[in-house]
Symmetry: C2
Subunit: 189 residues, 2 copies
Protein backbone atom coordinates (compact mmCIF):
# COMPACT_ATOMS: atom_id res chain seq x y z
CA UNK A 1 0.00 0.00 0.00
CA UNK A 2 2.00 2.98 -1.28
CA UNK A 3 0.83 6.58 -1.01
CA UNK A 4 1.02 6.93 -4.79
CA UNK A 5 2.11 4.35 -7.32
CA UNK A 6 4.90 4.93 -9.81
CA UNK A 7 2.69 4.92 -12.88
CA UNK A 8 0.47 7.66 -11.49
CA UNK A 9 3.56 9.61 -10.64
CA UNK A 10 4.76 9.40 -14.23
CA UNK A 11 1.39 10.60 -15.44
CA UNK A 12 1.36 13.58 -13.08
CA UNK A 13 4.92 14.61 -13.86
CA UNK A 14 4.28 14.24 -17.58
CA UNK A 15 1.09 16.29 -17.41
CA UNK A 16 2.98 19.11 -15.75
CA UNK A 17 5.72 19.04 -18.37
CA UNK A 18 3.24 18.74 -21.25
CA UNK A 19 1.44 21.79 -19.89
CA UNK A 20 4.63 23.83 -19.89
CA UNK A 21 6.08 22.86 -23.27
CA UNK A 22 3.50 20.78 -25.10
CA UNK A 23 3.51 17.05 -25.79
CA UNK A 24 5.90 17.07 -28.75
CA UNK A 25 8.52 19.22 -27.07
CA UNK A 26 8.77 16.97 -24.03
CA UNK A 27 11.09 13.98 -24.37
CA UNK A 28 11.09 10.75 -22.44
CA UNK A 29 14.44 11.89 -21.07
CA UNK A 30 12.82 15.07 -19.78
CA UNK A 31 10.17 13.07 -17.95
CA UNK A 32 12.76 10.68 -16.56
CA UNK A 33 14.98 13.49 -15.36
CA UNK A 34 12.09 15.12 -13.54
CA UNK A 35 11.71 11.83 -11.66
CA UNK A 36 15.42 11.31 -11.11
CA UNK A 37 15.62 8.11 -13.10
CA UNK A 38 16.71 7.13 -16.62
CA UNK A 39 14.38 7.22 -19.62
CA UNK A 40 14.48 3.47 -20.17
CA UNK A 41 13.21 2.89 -16.63
CA UNK A 42 9.91 4.54 -17.50
CA UNK A 43 9.08 1.55 -19.65
CA UNK A 44 8.78 -0.65 -16.59
CA UNK A 45 5.56 1.24 -15.87
CA UNK A 46 4.15 2.52 -19.14
CA UNK A 47 3.92 1.13 -22.65
CA UNK A 48 4.84 4.23 -24.62
CA UNK A 49 4.85 8.01 -24.64
CA UNK A 50 1.53 7.85 -26.44
CA UNK A 51 0.01 5.86 -23.62
CA UNK A 52 0.90 8.59 -21.13
CA UNK A 53 -0.96 11.13 -23.23
CA UNK A 54 -4.00 8.88 -23.55
CA UNK A 55 -4.15 8.23 -19.81
CA UNK A 56 -3.92 11.94 -19.05
CA UNK A 57 -6.58 13.06 -21.49
CA UNK A 58 -9.20 10.35 -21.74
CA UNK A 59 -9.97 10.10 -18.05
CA UNK A 60 -10.79 13.79 -17.76
CA UNK A 61 -12.72 13.83 -20.99
CA UNK A 62 -14.86 10.98 -19.69
CA UNK A 63 -15.53 12.82 -16.47
CA UNK A 64 -16.73 15.91 -18.35
CA UNK A 65 -18.94 13.78 -20.55
CA UNK A 66 -20.56 11.82 -17.77
CA UNK A 67 -21.21 14.81 -15.52
CA UNK A 68 -22.77 16.96 -18.22
CA UNK A 69 -24.97 14.05 -19.26
CA UNK A 70 -26.24 13.89 -15.72
CA UNK A 71 -26.83 17.64 -15.59
CA UNK A 72 -28.68 17.60 -18.89
CA UNK A 73 -30.93 14.78 -17.73
CA UNK A 74 -31.81 16.46 -14.41
CA UNK A 75 -35.03 18.42 -13.94
CA UNK A 76 -33.40 21.65 -12.78
CA UNK A 77 -33.88 25.07 -14.36
CA UNK A 78 -31.55 26.15 -17.16
CA UNK A 79 -29.87 28.65 -14.86
CA UNK A 80 -29.21 25.96 -12.29
CA UNK A 81 -27.83 23.66 -14.97
CA UNK A 82 -25.43 26.31 -16.26
CA UNK A 83 -24.30 27.00 -12.71
CA UNK A 84 -23.51 23.33 -12.31
CA UNK A 85 -21.51 23.33 -15.56
CA UNK A 86 -19.52 26.27 -14.23
CA UNK A 87 -18.99 24.38 -11.00
CA UNK A 88 -17.83 21.32 -12.93
CA UNK A 89 -15.14 23.24 -14.78
CA UNK A 90 -13.95 24.98 -11.63
CA UNK A 91 -13.76 21.68 -9.75
CA UNK A 92 -11.68 19.92 -12.36
CA UNK A 93 -9.47 22.96 -12.86
CA UNK A 94 -8.68 23.09 -9.16
CA UNK A 95 -8.11 19.35 -8.91
CA UNK A 96 -6.08 18.73 -12.05
CA UNK A 97 -5.18 21.80 -14.04
CA UNK A 98 -2.15 20.17 -15.64
CA UNK A 99 -4.21 17.44 -17.23
CA UNK A 100 -6.76 20.01 -18.32
CA UNK A 101 -4.10 22.07 -20.06
CA UNK A 102 -2.93 18.90 -21.73
CA UNK A 103 -6.43 18.05 -22.91
CA UNK A 104 -6.85 21.53 -24.35
CA UNK A 105 -3.52 21.78 -26.13
CA UNK A 106 -2.38 18.29 -27.00
CA UNK A 107 -5.50 16.33 -27.86
CA UNK A 108 -4.53 16.45 -31.54
CA UNK A 109 -1.56 14.21 -30.80
CA UNK A 110 -3.83 11.36 -29.87
CA UNK A 111 -3.91 8.71 -32.59
CA UNK A 112 -6.37 6.35 -34.23
CA UNK A 113 -9.16 5.15 -31.96
CA UNK A 114 -8.18 7.40 -29.09
CA UNK A 115 -8.42 10.46 -31.31
CA UNK A 116 -11.78 9.40 -32.70
CA UNK A 117 -13.07 8.64 -29.23
CA UNK A 118 -11.91 12.00 -27.89
CA UNK A 119 -13.42 14.01 -30.72
CA UNK A 120 -16.68 12.16 -30.27
CA UNK A 121 -16.73 13.03 -26.58
CA UNK A 122 -15.94 16.67 -27.26
CA UNK A 123 -18.71 16.92 -29.83
CA UNK A 124 -21.14 15.23 -27.46
CA UNK A 125 -20.17 17.64 -24.72
CA UNK A 126 -20.81 20.67 -26.87
CA UNK A 127 -24.06 19.18 -28.08
CA UNK A 128 -25.24 18.61 -24.52
CA UNK A 129 -24.39 22.18 -23.61
CA UNK A 130 -26.17 23.37 -26.74
CA UNK A 131 -29.31 21.49 -25.67
CA UNK A 132 -29.21 23.13 -22.26
CA UNK A 133 -28.95 26.61 -23.80
CA UNK A 134 -31.59 25.85 -26.42
CA UNK A 135 -34.19 24.82 -23.92
CA UNK A 136 -33.32 27.90 -21.88
CA UNK A 137 -34.00 30.10 -24.89
CA UNK A 138 -37.22 28.20 -25.59
CA UNK A 139 -38.67 28.85 -22.14
CA UNK A 140 -37.38 32.41 -21.90
CA UNK A 141 -34.70 31.89 -19.29
CA UNK A 142 -31.97 32.80 -21.77
CA UNK A 143 -31.90 35.73 -24.19
CA UNK A 144 -32.53 34.88 -27.81
CA UNK A 145 -29.01 35.63 -29.06
CA UNK A 146 -27.00 33.65 -31.58
CA UNK A 147 -26.67 30.30 -29.88
CA UNK A 148 -23.19 29.51 -31.21
CA UNK A 149 -21.85 32.78 -29.84
CA UNK A 150 -23.34 32.00 -26.44
CA UNK A 151 -21.84 28.51 -26.43
CA UNK A 152 -18.36 29.48 -27.53
CA UNK A 153 -18.12 32.50 -25.24
CA UNK A 154 -19.08 30.49 -22.22
CA UNK A 155 -17.03 27.40 -23.01
CA UNK A 156 -13.96 29.45 -23.98
CA UNK A 157 -13.95 31.05 -20.58
CA UNK A 158 -14.52 27.80 -18.70
CA UNK A 159 -12.01 25.82 -20.71
CA UNK A 160 -9.15 28.26 -20.28
CA UNK A 161 -9.72 28.87 -16.60
CA UNK A 162 -6.58 26.84 -15.90
CA UNK A 163 -4.53 29.57 -17.56
CA UNK A 164 -5.60 32.09 -14.96
CA UNK A 165 -5.97 30.10 -11.86
CA UNK A 166 -2.45 29.43 -10.68
CA UNK A 167 -1.50 33.04 -11.30
CA UNK A 168 -4.41 34.42 -9.29
CA UNK A 169 -4.65 31.99 -6.40
CA UNK A 170 -5.64 34.84 -4.13
CA UNK A 171 -9.23 34.37 -5.28
CA UNK A 172 -11.08 31.80 -3.20
CA UNK A 173 -12.98 29.09 -5.10
CA UNK A 174 -16.40 30.23 -3.82
CA UNK A 175 -15.67 33.82 -4.78
CA UNK A 176 -14.44 32.70 -8.16
CA UNK A 177 -17.59 30.70 -8.72
CA UNK A 178 -19.92 33.50 -7.65
CA UNK A 179 -18.16 36.03 -9.86
CA UNK A 180 -18.05 33.74 -12.86
CA UNK A 181 -21.75 33.08 -12.59
CA UNK A 182 -22.36 36.82 -12.44
CA UNK A 183 -20.10 37.62 -15.39
CA UNK A 184 -21.19 34.76 -17.62
CA UNK A 185 -24.90 35.04 -16.92
CA UNK A 186 -25.54 38.73 -16.28
CA UNK A 187 -22.62 40.39 -18.04
CA UNK A 188 -20.39 43.15 -16.79
CA UNK A 189 -22.43 46.26 -17.62
Amino acid sequence: MKPIDRKTEIINVSAKLFKEKGYSAVTMRDIAQAMDIKAASLYNHIKSKQEILVLIIIEIAEEFTSVIDEILASDQTTIQKIERVIQLHIDITLRNSDALACLNNDWMHLTDDDLIYFIKMREDYEESFRKIIKSGIANGEIKNLNIEVIIFSTLSTLRTLYLWYGKKKTIKPEVLKANMIQVLLNGIV
Copy 2:
Protein backbone atom coordinates in the same frame (compact mmCIF):
# COMPACT_ATOMS: atom_id res chain seq x y z
CA MET B 1 6.85 42.59 -58.49
CA LYS B 2 5.43 39.23 -57.41
CA PRO B 3 1.98 38.78 -55.92
CA ILE B 4 3.52 37.27 -52.77
CA ASP B 5 7.16 36.68 -52.04
CA ARG B 6 8.59 33.33 -51.09
CA LYS B 7 9.46 34.22 -47.52
CA THR B 8 5.92 35.34 -46.77
CA GLU B 9 4.68 32.12 -48.31
CA ILE B 10 6.88 30.10 -45.96
CA ILE B 11 5.54 32.04 -43.00
CA ASN B 12 1.93 31.51 -44.02
CA VAL B 13 2.36 27.83 -44.71
CA SER B 14 4.25 27.38 -41.44
CA ALA B 15 1.59 29.21 -39.45
CA LYS B 16 -1.05 26.90 -40.84
CA LEU B 17 0.96 23.81 -39.95
CA PHE B 18 1.89 25.14 -36.51
CA LYS B 19 -1.78 25.75 -35.85
CA GLU B 20 -2.65 22.16 -36.70
CA LYS B 21 0.11 20.31 -34.89
CA GLY B 22 2.04 22.80 -32.82
CA TYR B 23 5.51 24.24 -33.41
CA SER B 24 7.51 21.30 -32.09
CA ALA B 25 5.60 18.67 -34.01
CA VAL B 26 6.15 20.38 -37.36
CA THR B 27 9.45 19.63 -39.09
CA MET B 28 11.27 21.64 -41.70
CA ARG B 29 10.59 18.74 -44.03
CA ASP B 30 6.84 19.12 -43.34
CA ILE B 31 6.97 22.78 -44.26
CA ALA B 32 9.01 22.09 -47.37
CA GLN B 33 6.69 19.33 -48.50
CA ALA B 34 3.70 21.64 -48.15
CA MET B 35 5.46 23.97 -50.58
CA ASP B 36 6.64 21.22 -52.92
CA ILE B 37 10.32 21.86 -52.35
CA LYS B 38 13.10 20.29 -50.27
CA ALA B 39 13.81 21.28 -46.68
CA ALA B 40 17.25 22.68 -47.45
CA SER B 41 15.73 25.10 -49.96
CA LEU B 42 13.87 26.87 -47.19
CA TYR B 43 17.18 28.23 -45.96
CA ASN B 44 17.52 30.40 -49.04
CA HIS B 45 14.73 32.50 -47.54
CA ILE B 46 14.81 32.12 -43.78
CA LYS B 47 17.55 31.85 -41.21
CA SER B 48 16.12 29.11 -39.02
CA LYS B 49 12.95 27.42 -37.82
CA GLN B 50 13.04 29.74 -34.83
CA GLU B 51 12.99 32.78 -37.08
CA ILE B 52 9.77 31.59 -38.69
CA LEU B 53 8.12 31.41 -35.30
CA VAL B 54 9.36 34.85 -34.33
CA LEU B 55 8.12 36.42 -37.55
CA ILE B 56 4.70 34.85 -37.13
CA ILE B 57 4.18 35.84 -33.51
CA ILE B 58 5.90 39.17 -32.93
CA GLU B 59 4.19 41.07 -35.72
CA ILE B 60 0.72 40.24 -34.43
CA ALA B 61 1.69 40.85 -30.82
CA GLU B 62 2.92 44.30 -31.78
CA GLU B 63 -0.32 45.05 -33.57
CA PHE B 64 -2.36 44.15 -30.50
CA THR B 65 -0.12 46.25 -28.31
CA SER B 66 -0.19 49.34 -30.46
CA VAL B 67 -3.93 49.28 -31.09
CA ILE B 68 -4.91 48.81 -27.45
CA ASP B 69 -2.56 51.62 -26.48
CA GLU B 70 -4.40 53.87 -28.88
CA ILE B 71 -7.79 52.76 -27.54
CA LEU B 72 -6.69 53.31 -23.94
CA ALA B 73 -5.46 56.81 -24.74
CA SER B 74 -8.64 57.85 -26.55
CA ASP B 75 -11.40 59.82 -24.83
CA GLN B 76 -14.22 57.42 -25.55
CA THR B 77 -16.50 55.86 -22.95
CA THR B 78 -15.48 52.56 -21.37
CA ILE B 79 -18.22 50.75 -23.28
CA GLN B 80 -16.97 52.17 -26.55
CA LYS B 81 -13.43 51.18 -25.70
CA ILE B 82 -14.43 47.60 -24.92
CA GLU B 83 -16.34 47.45 -28.17
CA ARG B 84 -13.21 48.51 -30.00
CA VAL B 85 -11.19 45.81 -28.26
CA ILE B 86 -13.76 43.25 -29.37
CA GLN B 87 -13.54 44.64 -32.87
CA LEU B 88 -9.74 44.40 -32.77
CA HIS B 89 -9.80 40.71 -31.91
CA ILE B 90 -12.41 39.93 -34.52
CA ASP B 91 -10.46 41.79 -37.19
CA ILE B 92 -7.21 39.99 -36.56
CA THR B 93 -8.96 36.65 -36.22
CA LEU B 94 -10.57 37.07 -39.61
CA ARG B 95 -7.40 38.29 -41.25
CA ASN B 96 -4.87 35.87 -39.81
CA SER B 97 -6.29 33.17 -37.61
CA ASP B 98 -3.36 30.81 -38.20
CA ALA B 99 -0.86 33.24 -36.77
CA LEU B 100 -3.19 33.94 -33.89
CA ALA B 101 -3.42 30.26 -33.02
CA CYS B 102 0.35 30.13 -33.18
CA LEU B 103 0.68 33.08 -30.84
CA ASN B 104 -1.69 31.47 -28.38
CA ASN B 105 -0.19 27.99 -28.38
CA ASP B 106 3.45 28.29 -29.28
CA TRP B 107 4.71 31.51 -27.72
CA MET B 108 6.59 29.50 -25.09
CA HIS B 109 8.89 28.20 -27.79
CA LEU B 110 10.27 31.65 -28.38
CA THR B 111 13.74 32.04 -26.92
CA ASP B 112 15.87 34.64 -25.16
CA ASP B 113 15.08 38.22 -26.11
CA ASP B 114 12.10 37.30 -28.24
CA LEU B 115 10.51 35.48 -25.33
CA ILE B 116 11.14 38.33 -22.94
CA TYR B 117 9.82 40.85 -25.45
CA PHE B 118 6.68 38.82 -26.06
CA ILE B 119 5.90 38.32 -22.39
CA LYS B 120 6.38 42.03 -21.81
CA MET B 121 3.89 42.85 -24.57
CA ARG B 122 1.37 40.37 -23.25
CA GLU B 123 1.61 41.81 -19.75
CA ASP B 124 1.29 45.32 -21.09
CA TYR B 125 -1.76 44.31 -23.08
CA GLU B 126 -3.48 42.87 -20.05
CA GLU B 127 -2.52 45.87 -18.00
CA SER B 128 -4.01 48.24 -20.57
CA PHE B 129 -7.21 46.23 -20.61
CA ARG B 130 -7.25 46.25 -16.81
CA LYS B 131 -6.99 50.05 -16.83
CA ILE B 132 -9.94 50.31 -19.19
CA ILE B 133 -12.09 48.09 -16.96
CA LYS B 134 -10.93 49.82 -13.79
CA SER B 135 -11.91 53.28 -14.95
CA GLY B 136 -15.22 51.81 -16.10
CA ILE B 137 -15.86 50.49 -12.61
CA ALA B 138 -14.78 53.81 -11.11
CA ASN B 139 -17.31 55.83 -13.08
CA GLY B 140 -20.09 53.27 -12.78
CA GLU B 141 -20.16 52.05 -16.38
CA ILE B 142 -19.05 48.57 -15.31
CA LYS B 143 -20.38 46.47 -12.42
CA ASN B 144 -18.14 46.26 -9.38
CA LEU B 145 -17.28 42.56 -9.76
CA ASN B 146 -13.88 40.95 -9.22
CA ILE B 147 -11.76 42.66 -11.82
CA GLU B 148 -9.56 39.66 -12.57
CA VAL B 149 -12.59 37.53 -13.32
CA ILE B 150 -13.92 40.18 -15.69
CA ILE B 151 -10.60 40.43 -17.49
CA PHE B 152 -9.94 36.76 -17.90
CA SER B 153 -13.52 35.94 -18.96
CA THR B 154 -13.48 38.57 -21.64
CA LEU B 155 -9.98 37.94 -22.91
CA SER B 156 -10.43 34.16 -22.90
CA THR B 157 -13.35 34.49 -25.22
CA LEU B 158 -11.65 36.98 -27.51
CA ARG B 159 -8.38 35.10 -27.65
CA THR B 160 -9.88 31.77 -28.59
CA LEU B 161 -12.27 33.11 -31.17
CA TYR B 162 -10.06 31.57 -33.85
CA LEU B 163 -11.02 28.13 -32.58
CA TRP B 164 -14.65 28.74 -33.46
CA TYR B 165 -14.52 30.89 -36.48
CA GLY B 166 -13.57 28.56 -39.29
CA LYS B 167 -16.08 26.00 -38.12
CA LYS B 168 -18.95 28.47 -37.99
CA LYS B 169 -18.33 30.62 -41.02
CA THR B 170 -22.04 30.92 -41.54
CA ILE B 171 -22.07 33.81 -39.06
CA LYS B 172 -21.35 37.14 -40.73
CA PRO B 173 -18.69 39.36 -39.12
CA GLU B 174 -21.14 42.13 -38.22
CA VAL B 175 -23.54 39.65 -36.65
CA LEU B 176 -20.67 38.06 -34.78
CA LYS B 177 -19.56 41.41 -33.46
CA ALA B 178 -23.04 42.48 -32.39
CA ASN B 179 -23.68 39.21 -30.59
CA MET B 180 -20.32 39.18 -28.88
CA ILE B 181 -20.88 42.68 -27.56
CA GLN B 182 -24.25 41.60 -26.25
CA VAL B 183 -22.97 38.43 -24.62
CA LEU B 184 -19.81 39.90 -23.13
CA LEU B 185 -21.34 43.15 -21.90
CA ASN B 186 -24.91 42.27 -21.00
CA GLY B 187 -24.73 38.54 -20.39
CA ILE B 188 -27.05 35.83 -21.60
CA VAL B 189 -29.82 35.94 -18.99
